[in-house]
Subunit: 199 residues, 2 copies
Amino acid sequence: MTDTQPDVTPALSERPKRADALRNYEKLLVAAGEAFAEDGASASLEDIARRAGVGIGTLYRHFPTRQHLLEAVYIGEVEEMARSAADLADLPPWDALATWLRQFVSYAATKRALGAELLAYTDADADVFQKCRTAIVTAGDALLDRAQEAGVARTDTSFIEVGRLVGGLSAIRGAEPGEIDRLLDIVLDGLRYRPPAAD
Amino acid sequence: MTDTQPDVTPALSERPKRADALRNYEKLLVAAGEAFAEDGASASLEDIARRAGVGIGTLYRHFPTRQHLLEAVYIGEVEEMARSAADLADLPPWDALATWLRQFVSYAATKRALGAELLAYTDADADVFQKCRTAIVTAGDALLDRAQEAGVARTDTSFIEVGRLVGGLSAIRGAEPGEIDRLLDIVLDGLRYRPPAAD
DNA sequence: CAACAAGTGGAGGCAACCTCCGCTTCAACA
DNA sequence: TGTTGAAGCGGAGGTTGCCTCCACTTGTTG
């Protein structure tokens, strides 16, 4: 990344200031991550508080709504993905894009409950959520742009759209091993540039 | 209604036999259809019973779980789609497939809460649900097979997979008008047969 | 170490889920 | 047509999860 942009995370996550508050915040984040992974996005908040060893009131102090908690967990994932996109800068444009999308799908598939909602909501009202989405889109856009400029990807689409397509894949549950990969192949095939010819 | 096997639905919906029970069953189905369309798949069951003008116990008698109720509502939609597939038999293979997939997406998008889950669950434990899925897959398979045999669709995939891909599209919320169409274009492009060449 | 702001936790109100069971209604058969 | 058993009905109430509120505790700062 550029040096003007110090880090991938400008002000995504706003942590509490007091030491004990921070501690609880982290504990909640970990507990929520586990609970969401296990039980899906509708995991019981009281259970999460219990796992974290804090009172339910503390949970609500840090995360006024379920959305907020989901968002906070997303942020971790998003930072991971954005970092990963930067690492692929060495690969040829198409490979970088394809590789990253593959990572994206398999990664999101693990945390399916979370990944599914991420790119599916356009009308997300939460601001942090928007920023979070923007971060991923920016990272993906860079890869797509590079591929488009290199003439290996079709130019009549944007990463926002591609992201949705791929995000949908990650929502698929109980797929056979390799199935998602093949579906992604289809999408990638549709996305690859093809010279206009008689069809 | 007739005692002979009348239509596309062999034994999909098992209705209650007593007249009053049947009446309530239908009322619940209508109310649930409305409620799910308005509030999504997590609409309150007690509200549905209230809308239908029956007690909550009656709802549970007919539909032991939310899944069951969702399924029963699906069945109506599925029958519609299957019928529609048959009507496209006159069109050229590719057009029939493309048209039907387009219908599928736009139709499912209306009832997004329902459509999203339909093709996403592979590990659906409910048996009726399975059958329901089979009905759609059978209809879609016929269209895809025809296109494959005519040499206009790639042959290394099955409708199960395509259905998932397209089903994912219908889960997208808040898309701009025409956006879903373009995404479907990409999928269709990837699905269309292309002679193997230097790549 | 004092004082106060920041943070904590859980009791309690509310709503949805679901079960259970006494009452009602249908329809089958004499 | 009347009787009767089974099928169906409905809602009270137990359980659980959501969220608010506020009296108490604890970290921080001067």
